[in-house]
Symmetry: D2
Subunit: 348 residues, 4 copies
Amino acid sequence: MIKMGVIGYGYWGPNLVRNLFEVPETQVVAVSDMREERLGLVKSRYPSVRVSTDLRTLLDDPSIDAIAIATPVSTHYDLALRALQSGKHVMVEKPMTSSTEQALRLIEEADRRGLTLMVDHTFVYTGAVRKIKEIVEQGRLGDIYYYDSTRVNLGLFQHDVDVLWDLAVHDLSIMNYILPNSPCAVAATGINHISGGTENLAYLTMFFEDNTIGHVNVNWLSPVKVRRTLIGGSKQMIVYDDMEPSEKVKIYDKGITVSNGPDSIYKAMVGYRSGDMFAPQLDVSEALRVEIQHFVDCIESGREPITGGRAGLQVVRLLESASRSMKHRGRLVELEPDGLGVLAGATA
Amino acid sequence: MIKMGVIGYGYWGPNLVRNLFEVPETQVVAVSDMREERLGLVKSRYPSVRVSTDLRTLLDDPSIDAIAIATPVSTHYDLALRALQSGKHVMVEKPMTSSTEQALRLIEEADRRGLTLMVDHTFVYTGAVRKIKEIVEQGRLGDIYYYDSTRVNLGLFQHDVDVLWDLAVHDLSIMNYILPNSPCAVAATGINHISGGTENLAYLTMFFEDNTIGHVNVNWLSPVKVRRTLIGGSKQMIVYDDMEPSEKVKIYDKGITVSNGPDSIYKAMVGYRSGDMFAPQLDVSEALRVEIQHFVDCIESGREPITGGRAGLQVVRLLESASRSMKHRGRLVELEPDGLGVLAGATA
Amino acid sequence: MIKMGVIGYGYWGPNLVRNLFEVPETQVVAVSDMREERLGLVKSRYPSVRVSTDLRTLLDDPSIDAIAIATPVSTHYDLALRALQSGKHVMVEKPMTSSTEQALRLIEEADRRGLTLMVDHTFVYTGAVRKIKEIVEQGRLGDIYYYDSTRVNLGLFQHDVDVLWDLAVHDLSIMNYILPNSPCAVAATGINHISGGTENLAYLTMFFEDNTIGHVNVNWLSPVKVRRTLIGGSKQMIVYDDMEPSEKVKIYDKGITVSNGPDSIYKAMVGYRSGDMFAPQLDVSEALRVEIQHFVDCIESGREPITGGRAGLQVVRLLESASRSMKHRGRLVELEPDGLGVLAGATA
Amino acid sequence: MIKMGVIGYGYWGPNLVRNLFEVPETQVVAVSDMREERLGLVKSRYPSVRVSTDLRTLLDDPSIDAIAIATPVSTHYDLALRALQSGKHVMVEKPMTSSTEQALRLIEEADRRGLTLMVDHTFVYTGAVRKIKEIVEQGRLGDIYYYDSTRVNLGLFQHDVDVLWDLAVHDLSIMNYILPNSPCAVAATGINHISGGTENLAYLTMFFEDNTIGHVNVNWLSPVKVRRTLIGGSKQMIVYDDMEPSEKVKIYDKGITVSNGPDSIYKAMVGYRSGDMFAPQLDVSEALRVEIQHFVDCIESGREPITGGRAGLQVVRLLESASRSMKHRGRLVELEPDGLGVLAGATA
């Protein structure tokens, strides 16, 4: 039984607590939040849970094994570091930290202390994404040509991060999990429409060493909600539409075959290779519950979580580079391949 | 009655000829194509039409008033110039030419001779786009925040142009028609997956002097066909989905109102302003027919067509700049505001 | 503050309890269920609530003002009657009872004791249905031509009722609420595919005195979930699609105009009158919460609930007649207009 | 080469002529229509085709092998009979005739003269329906539980037939083609909203000897166009949605498994068996062209067409019975199994 403390009971905290209650191997013993009224909510729902506005009561409690952090991004580093230094395993909301440097520091601290550090990239634990991972690993797509995602809707504007850090973070964590390689350079553009705000709309292109390109379109100001990812391969192609009530993942036996036909003076005769479409059955377990189970397994086995510190760092590096590129209207930012050099031996 | 010659009877030519037959004010007298078998097709369908593999028979025929050109892009300039020099009005397929220089030269020639020069930006003449134009001109969207278009499907790979010149040309012609301002800079990224081919997938960001951003996502290798444009404004927003069998244009009374709420330490309380949605009735006339009628009107009145040489030039300038940016992985290319300086007095 | 007892904590009970907790004017003091493990669930979630396998502890408790009944249909009559006889207001799951006779008896008992009797026709309290009601009452549809509903999906097969009593009950309660008149006759067909089961697929036609027809298609064995109702009028038409994430209600300014054209020897020239489409903003409050609030209001004011006993009776009469017709493969069953005669003065 | 005459150049005639021109084995030599302006249209499009308002010029022309009839339903019998009596093969629009008696008479005439008689049930020749037929014949659905079709839209009101004869005719021809058995009884309801018109909205239930039920919902007054058929089986289920631009046929590995669970007092625990979904590639050839090719093959081989007279008769019998049932508000009409007795040896 892993005894958990939860810091932050705002938007995501209640989902964490509810799922921690439903996983038999975890038990929520205390929740901390700076806002009394949020703690009142905890009390009315879970009378057995201790609450406090002072997070030290959690960090200093020797009976607590692990801390889940669901606070604003800017506080992740400080809170996670303190939790690790108090000897607690840590599950921190995405994105892991505000900078690569902070992420590296947390990984180092967790490694040194032999603690589990996990980032809550929830989508990675959905049945849809796990199925796509399986298909890609089986080589069914052939060469990966592109990863193209659109994640737009109306709201929630964030104070401390731009739309890349809020929405693209999902796509980057999914993409990193699914694709065999990582981007070597990024170019991002975007715009901020709210006085004093951050970019609320952004476009991110990612270049790879091989013949792959990645793109993410994120927008807080769209009248319609779109959650659609196309993954194109030389053999097959995937459409992952998270707005579909069922059949979220569709695999198309489609592609092209190039040849010269009678019209070749005018056009390449690119034959449509158009075969069957296939929508595999997906595991419909709640992702957060699957993830918490994985967190428990990693604590017990000492293994690096699928979305451990190194995976979290990868995403932060991309976001950091993307925001930098966006400030310069799409200027290419190359990602140093040895960015993880100091972490030699890492399994991410 | 405008007597027309048509050059090129490949993919688009048959649509042109069919519509030219249905507009009472135009009459197709001759068709030219280098391929005998294409001319055979013309003969069997329209026995009254003269055919020839030698386009000079059209250009030299004094009874022909106007020439429609539906050939590969690389030939547009040369054919259009010869037609103008032969004293014919010209309707040329999109994109107008392969370069800004060529476009300027054609405009100059047409102006000097008092001939009508029109580019076949067909989408501009659809009921959907004309309705959107009307809504934007009425100011119903408020400030335009963004123009974001996705135009992807499987095929047709082009020999002589990349996917921007093939697909984004539609979005740029629509955007230029609808928005009050033009982009001042572009940044494009893309990739070519076919040996010896051109970029078959591209992302184009367009910056404006004001608070607007434009983006176009085009792809010849998508398993699904998407034709969706979001236009966001401070008051209302439009979704234009050309794949919908009806209700192609939807106007959302949606937006945001920023305020500080109890959670303001964590998040900006951005209120969803979510009102009614409205799908106006659209004129379902075939766009090409409306366009041909407009061509006739312009010939008779001497007015510049909505998609005249200047509109065509604008699109070519954007494409040229975008392709240049794409070659340098998203490097910003600024568009000189005086690009049309030599054309002072132009109405485009 | 209305103190509530809840009988039945199976599929729907938890939703009831959760919402009763969220409405400030109601307080759940006790829950009864025959299954210990269900009561254990109540205890873990709501430690303050008393639980018992003996419902008499609820009925005999003078501090309890009202009873919510969420048990199988066959038990509704007995439980509701006992609750009323114990002086409790009653909110009973749909359908109200297994027969018209039982429904009449409950209404009588509630009337005599001055207690509120309400049936949980939840859909009537959704923003979508309330909006449709408003539109119809404004006369915007003109004459109502038809009410045509499809409600199909895979599951849940019921033991004690057929698919009409399980699914069509929703459509009938909505239709009765929306339309100004009630059906005067029904004809139903259906089939049972499971040995020992009830009809799992049924089609119900309803005739009205005026020019209206109603139809409901319900099916427990559909591979896809459909929740779509078309309401056709002489002026406008509504499509209510509950599977849409937003824009669940669409109002079409569509219809026909009949005239004779040149082809009139062959076909009536029926002109499509095709105008704008309009999707009004809907209240997104949880229906069950709105309904409980209404229950409280009715208890306090003594008014008949929108879905009171009389509305519940109407639905049971239709279901009873429909099942009878279905047993005889669509034989017409006329509904006696004086079926409610004994209830003269009723407001339903 | 089959030389064809076409009678009727209204709504469907032009499609027939266009496809007859494209099939190499057929040649249109003459078109007849009572309306001069329709013949003018033929002349302008196909100068080589003879036209006449007197259909005797076609029937008496010994060079004409076959006649295609695309006139109103009420004229089908008379025209087809005259064509057969003139020794011509016949392809007649759906529905074949206005009555069973007429249909039997035509079959007899064609049989006696050894001529091919085919009904233009176009949908049977689509890639979608042919694929569904193949799947059903392979036994992949298991026992067929139901065939449930919705075919509604706005228009075209017919003068001489009700909505069953206009729209349900498609569903019945498809259903008869796909299912191994035929209905043994029907019950239909409907309504007419237009003064002097026929029923414009109808619901038809079909009973089978086995555990199958059929239902068709047709409506000329729907604001949205729906073309959706569900075919449920004990093993798999099909959704055929003709409005989808692609993936018109989807096969769901879905069904139920009944068992008793902890909640069995309340509900049967019917397990969802929910596996993969599969959308097979479909032949996209134009159905009418495939059909004409089949007509030619049957003329040459003497075989009964898939949609020959007997198939046409089956559909007319169902329509006739359905209209009779509808006149009596759903009264069951049993279909005599020996309806085709006089046609012993028929292959339909």
